[in-house]
């Protein structure tokens, strides 16, 4: 991916030069992809649900943390009373085995945690990556050497392992969702920083940046006024793919019991608890699993769509193409080649999403 991003400053030009019309063009290209549109709708719905979680649960008349011992059959080991795990007018998706907590409420509050942590972590990653990447590209040889080495090392550290270990030593009093977002953000910025550095190096060669330097602008002003807008396209593209990856990591950490801690609901955590109930209360397992699947899938498809819309090569194929949209979108994946500058660094940003 970084090959396409790093090697082609053109999508950047869309943003910096064309401004509002660039944004319009982006929307037009995004709209041309049916799958991305559906995914965008799903993502919008999820964000809405997450934001409106208190409202939705108020309408239902439940909250995510109240125990309902009367709704589970303690004689049968805590299985929910009633058909389909206690689904009814009071509990739209039934209740949790053993505790009787409302599943709908836990699911929608879990969406808050999932999306909130993932987006916050992405912001941290983007911030660090921009600072490190731009500084490396604009700084002198030593700054570049030090920052690039640092980035290499960060890329080499396995994300899951490092975050697991880091979460072990932070005192328990620290607010957990914030901590998880910070830890993910502080570890997984390496690939993005490499992309930013490469893109900045490319932009630096362009005439308008040279003109700005000749007219006596300082480095800081050039970085802010000329380079940051040019970085918008790769940043948007890559962060759109970072969000689902971060969701996966948060869910995994919570699944292992070191991420978000009870009573704060999280999908990963629900899955751990649901493990043993798959026969007695299958919906307890299927709901968080399905929620995770749909969310990550929608965000991934949307991320692909954004990449296609911002990649002029893929986008031109989209417009001139024979109407086979799926093909044009999938061809954007051609970008998943390797970074020609550094052998051994595949540039598919989604690879860690699998963790």
């Amino acid at each position: 991916m970084s090959e396409a991003l790093a090697a082609s400053p053109a999508p950047a030009a869309d943003f910096s030069a064309a401004g509002a019309s660039g944004a319009r063009q982006f929307w037009r290209r995004l709209r041309a992809q049916r799958a991305a549109l559906v995914a965008a709708a799903v993502v919008a719905l999820l964000v809405l649900v997450a934001l409106a979680a208190p409202l939705l649960t108020a309408v239902e008349g439940q909250d995510p943390t109240t125990y309902h011992p009367s709704l589970v059959d303690s004689a049968r080991g805590g299985v929910p009373v009633g058909p389909l795990g206690g689904i009814g007018a009071d509990h739209w998706l039934g209740v949790e085995p053993q505790t009787g907590r409302d599943l709908f409420a836990r699911l929608v509050y879990g969406a808050r945690v999932s999306l909130g942590v993932a987006i916050a972590a992405t912001l941290v990653q983007v911030l660090i990556a921009v600072v490190v990447g731009v500084s490396a590209a604009l700084g002198n040889r030593w700054v570049d050497q030090v920052l690039s080495r640092m980035t290499e090392i960060i890329v080499a550290l396995p994300l899951m392992i490092m975050s697991l270990a880091l979460l072990a030593i932070v005192p328990g009093s620290f607010p957990r969702p914030v901590l998880v977002a910070l830890v993910i953000g502080l570890i997984a910025w390496g690939t993005l920083a490499k992309i930013v550095r490469a893109q900045t190096l490319t932009l630096k060669q362009l005439d308008y940046v040279a003109a700005a330097r000749l007219s006596g602008w300082g480095t800081w002003r050039i970085a802010r006024r000329d380079l940051l807008p040019g970085l918008a396209a790769p940043l948007i593209t890559y962060s759109a793919l970072l969000v689902p990856m971060n969701i996966g990591v948060e869910a995994a950490l919570s699944f292992l019991g070191v991420g978000v801690k009870p009573p704060t609901p999280s999908w990963g955590q629900m899955l751990t608890a649901a493990d043993v109930w798959y026969q007695a209360a299958p919906q307890y397992l299927l709901l968080p699993a399905g929620a995770l699947f749909v969310t990550v899938l929608a965000l991934t498809v949307l991320g692909d769509g954004v990449r296609t819309a911002l990649d002029p090569r893929a986008a031109s194929r989209l417009r001139v193409g024979t109407g086979r949209r799926g093909e044009a979108r999938a061809d954007a994946g051609t970008a998943a080649g390797t970074d020609p500058l550094r052998p051994g660094t595949p540039a598919d940003g989604t690879k860690e999403a699998t963790a």
Partner: protein, 332 residues
């Protein structure tokens, strides 16, 4: 060939520097945290006397670089630990002592390592075959229904977290269909057949997620190669489609696949933590989760270093293989 030898040499040197830097970072992050390091290292149930002993062992009175030097010395040359009554020798590479279990970290890791290696390398074989196979197939059947189905499956595979796949596989295959017993780790040397059968599900769950990226990459780079002029020339000369795909297009995809494989190794190590925990495999990952939960700092640090070591080595090996596979790469 001297250029290649020089490249390998430089790459090895770079790897050593990276490993050193990682050890510094990990040491500083975990042993220079605010808070009572000796207490954290020793564990919550340590008496003040024990904490004092650990503090001496870690040389907490000394400046940080002296402490790190001490740590590095243990790593390279071994170290002696006094455990109150007796002195225990910890041979190089010594990663210290778990004060909670009174075990040497390196010894603990070595007993768990075969399980994790069985898991990750077995899964690697599965994801390479599955991913590259799917990619080749979908590049070949481009535009047909089968390609769309494969693309959809790939996307779904990529979007499912490894522990969800594992959980569902385990429930469906072991719980509902009862095709396999719930996995229980058997040593390879004890019974190779049982070893493999018990690892089928962990391999699959780890590999299905990773295979997706390979499928996309293989498909993309094959389509790129197929569009190149020399392929058109082959076709014009009447070279069969099977040979064009199998001999020439796949070769073009080889180098990026090697590179991706190294990175996937890193993420698979993370996935292995989940897989091991889920299936109850007594590997490094499961031990790491345990150590994190009871805050056994020396074990956590040791595991992070060992895993980091493997990932860095994997990347270095991939770089060299990449250069071998793709002669266009400029060796720097």
């Amino acid at each position: 060939m001297s250029g290649f030898g020089g490249f390998v040499l430089r790459r090895t040197l770079g790897t050593v520097i990276t490993l050193f830097a990682i050890s510094v970072i990990v040491y500083v992050v975990f042993y220079a945290t605010p808070g009572n390091v000796a207490q954290i290292t020793c564990g919550p149930r340590c008496s003040p006397a024990q904490v004092h002993q650990v503090a001496e062992q870690l040389r907490l009175g000394d400046p940080l670089y002296v402490r790190y030097g001490h740590f590095l010395q243990g790593l390279l040359a071994g170290q002696d630990y006094s455990t109150g009554t007796s002195v225990q020798h910890c041979p190089a590479p010594c990663l210290g002592l778990s004060y909670q279990t009174d075990q040497q970290v390196m010894r603990l890791i070595l007993t768990k390592l075969p399980v994790s290696l069985s898991l990750v390398f077995g899964a690697m074989a599965v994801w390479l075959v599955l991913g590259v196979g799917t990619g080749v197939l979908s590049a070949w059947r481009r535009g047909r229904l089968s390609e769309r189905v494969l693309t959809g499956l790939t996307l779904a595979g990529q979007a499912t977290p490894v522990f969800v796949i594992g959980l569902i596989l385990m429930i469906v295959v072991c719980g509902q269909l009862e095709l396999l017993p719930f996995p229980q780790y058997v040593n390879l040397s004890d019974d190779p057949e049982q070893w493999a059968w018990n690892l089928v599900l962990p391999w699959l769950s780890l590999a299905l997620v990773e295979a997706a990226a390979f499928a996309r990459l293989t498909r993309a780079s094959m389509l790129e190669t197929l569009a190149e002029d020399h392929i058109r020339t082959f076709r014009a000369y009447g070279v069969g489609e099977r040979s064009v795909i199998g001999r020439h297009a796949v070769r073009g995809a080889l180098a990026p696949i090697i590179a991706l494989n190294a990175n996937t190794f890193g993420s698979a190590v993370g996935g292995a933590v989940l897989t091991e925990t889920l299936f109850g495999l007594p590997g490094i990952g499961q031990e790491l989760v345990h150590a994190v939960n009871v805050v056994d700092l020396p074990v956590v640090v040791g595991m992070v270093l060992v895993i980091g070591f493997f990932v860095v080595i994997a990347n270095a090996v991939a770089d060299v293989l990449y250069a071998v596979a793709d002669r266009r790469v400029v060796l720097t």
